[in-house]
């Protein structure tokens, strides 16, 4: 959590890039205190805005920041995936992640966040925006009226994370079959392939039929 405390008040360790600073200043002018926090990710500014200002942030980015290009809209589930029991899907091979819930750059209020990236084709800059969505009722205003390309991204985000987008023209499944239940990119959704057949892990060698000592358990040894 040390990272979070460091960023309260919008101070980051590395000095801000001049372009990043300009972008953030313009965003503050338009959005005011709807901007909760900011950070810098290797030259790309990240701002976290209040959920009610999510669509307004897109409008400001498109008009005041000249970000005419929508790169992506997606979600993050910050809750660590369960490592044990049925929920982990009998998986022992995946990299071990920290078990406490920590948040990334610019922080988060809870488990689910939306993250989007927009860019300017004329000024060649870009900005990543985040907003917190409620865990019990994850929903946000759709970006489709501002960026029509958000339609598919939001459909994907809806089926993968279960985040509803108000004002979206047709929120239906994109990749998954329409009768699919659950939200696969949520951390508590196990990797189904591993549930069906557990990953062998490090020992991935079956003994050959003629191996000495290897086939003692199958009861067919002739000795």
């Amino acid at each position: 959590m040390a990272d979070d405390e460091q960023q309260v008040g919008g101070e980051t360790a590395e000095p801000l890039d001049p372009v990043v600073e300009t972008l953030l200043e313009r965003l503050y002018e338009e959005l005011g205190d709807a901007v909760i926090d900011r950070a810098q990710m290797f030259g790309t500014p990240i701002v976290r805005v209040r959920a009610e200002a999510w669509r307004r942030a897109a409008e400001v980015a498109k008009t005041a920041l000249a970000c005419d290009y929508l790169s992506y809209v997606s979600g993050i589930d910050w809750q660590p995936a369960p490592r044990e029991g049925a929920a982990a899907g009998a998986d022992t091979s995946s990299p071990v992640q920290p078990t406490d819930m920590t948040f990334g750059l610019a922080g988060s209020a809870g488990r689910f966040q939306l993250v989007a990236h927009v860019q300017s084709t004329t000024r060649h800059w870009g900005i990543t925006m985040k907003t917190d969505v409620d865990e019990a009722q994850p929903r946000a205003l759709s970006w489709v009226p501002v960026y029509p390309g958000a339609e598919w991204h939001e459909r994907e985000c809806w089926e993968m994370f279960g985040i509803t987008f108000d004002g979206h023209p047709a929120l239906r499944h994109l990749y998954l079959p329409s009768e699919f239940e659950g939200h696969p990119l949520r951390k508590d959704f196990p990797l189904l392939a591993r549930v069906v057949k557990p990953w062998p892990g490090l020992v991935d060698v079956e003994s050959m039929p003629g191996d000495a000592g290897g086939d003692a358990s199958d009861g067919e040894s002739e000795a």
Binding site: G104, H117, T121, H124, E151, L174
Partner: protein, 395 residues
């Protein structure tokens, strides 16, 4: 009161006036032109895989089009959470399978940024050369394929034939024709084999000649121009708001190339190259832009070979790759457009979350807008000119 008798036909007693009335009524009835639903795909040759396009037709004209994707969805974003960083390069290889090497670069770069590791200059230059070779391989298939979709068979054979030069080079350097898996965090698996540079120079000459052939047979060809000019026009602002990128957006007059305008990566800041744009935004413009970019890539490879620095190909990295906590967004100009990875790390051997931004996904999401009002034969030409790879849509 009776009509004339015809042998063999039943006799009707109808008033003559009524009959004429009936005939006139028949004339005034409009032909039934109810909407027709047509399924293109999931197995249509123009779709490079399994894209299904449900189009509603009024006669020959498209009223509405709805792409149905997901037939090849493999859930890579979920799978990355169960893999270590070095294992993920194998996965991302298979997103856009025609330019696999170019898919690896931004992911490996994101991990390198987070670890504070920089690949040595020679590794960066070789990566650039292989990325440009992937671009040539990808575009060559398009240059031939596009002709095929509008009825010219010869260019397709040329495209497949000459692409072999490039695939052989990639195979010679990396060991894999389609899935090199050659990038390592901090550098490359191997150095280039002996004699590779000379062979590449010869092949690039063949590629440049091949581009002239494509130009002479298609550009200026009456049939090709009639089938591609003025159809599928993407205005620059609409294209950008849909996230259309790469050559598709440059064909709409947007002078934006991440190799030149993005955060500097690989050896692009150190070499000269031209960025081609076209103002028309139609299917022809997209063909023309890719043709010029293929030439430019071949010239870039020659330039890169001239300036290839000596030195190591791997930076010092720990044996077990652990990426420090942080987030990184790396975007590159891939053959199909902007490819980006938003990587969230929590200090483990694998990423916590990876958002894969693939080019074809956004390039295809414009189809409902673009196909409205198009004619059925043009649909195939428009699909071919957008040039997408299914693995790049479905991930």
């Amino acid at each position: 009161m009776s009509s004339t008798d015809t042998p063999g036909l039943p006799r009707f007693d109808v008033e003559p006036g009524a009959l004429r009335h009936l005939a006139e009524a028949q004339m005034n009835v409009e032909l039934d032109t109810g909407d027709m639903i047509l399924n293109l795909g999931p197995q249509h040759p123009a779709t490079h895989g399994t894209l299904r396009l449900v189009v509603r037709l009024d006669g020959e004209r498209v009223i509405a089009a709805d792409p149905v994707v997901g037939y090849m969805h493999r859930g890579y974003e979920k799978l990355t959470e169960f893999r270590t960083y070095p294992q993920i390069t194998t996965l991302v290889n298979r997103i856009d399978w025609l330019s696999s090497f170019a898919n690896e670069v931004p992911f490996v770069h994101a991990a390198e940024l987070l670890m504070g590791v920089e690949a040595p200059p020679r590794a960066r230059w070789i990566r650039t050369i292989l990325t440009e070779l992937s671009r040539i391989a990808t575009f060559y298939l398009f240059l031939g394929e596009m002709g095929l979709q509008v009825g010219a068979l010869t260019p397709a054979f040329w495209g497949f034939r000459d692409r072999e030069h490039v695939l052989n080079l990639i195979e010679a350097a990396t060991g894999g024709r389609f899935h090199p898996n050659f990038n390592r965090i901090g550098g490359l698996k191997d150095d280039l084999p002996r004699g590779w540079a000379a062979e590449t120079r010869r092949a690039m000459q063949a590629i440049l000649d091949g581009c002239d052939d494509f130009e002479s047979i298609l550009v200026g060809n009456e049939i090709f121009e009639a089938r591609t000019r003025g159809i599928g026009i993407i205005p620059s602002d609409v294209g950008a708001s849909y996230g259309v990128s790469g050559s598709n957006l440059r064909a709409s007059g947007v002078d934006w190339d991440l190799r030149r305008d993005g955060r500097p990566y690989l050896a692009y800041p150190e070499i000269e190259f031209a960025v081609c744009t076209h103002t028309d935004g139609d299917a022809f413009a997209r063909y023309w832009v890719r043709l010029q970019e293929t030439r430019e890539s071949a010239r870039m490879v020659l330039r890169l070979l001239d300036g290839l620095p000596a030195g190591p190909i791997m930076a010092k990295v720990p044996r077990v790759i652990k990426v420090p906590e942080g987030e990184a967004w790396v975007e590159t100009e891939n053959p199909l457009g902007q490819m980006g990875y938003y990587v969230v790390s929590k200090g483990a051997t694998g990423p916590f979350r990876v958002k894969i931004r693939s080019a074809s996904f956004s390039n295809v999401s414009i189809l409902p807008w673009l196909l409205r009002g198009a004619y059925v034969p043009d649909v195939v030409a428009i699909l071919a000119s957008l040039y997408f790879i299914l693995g790049d849509i479905d991930r």
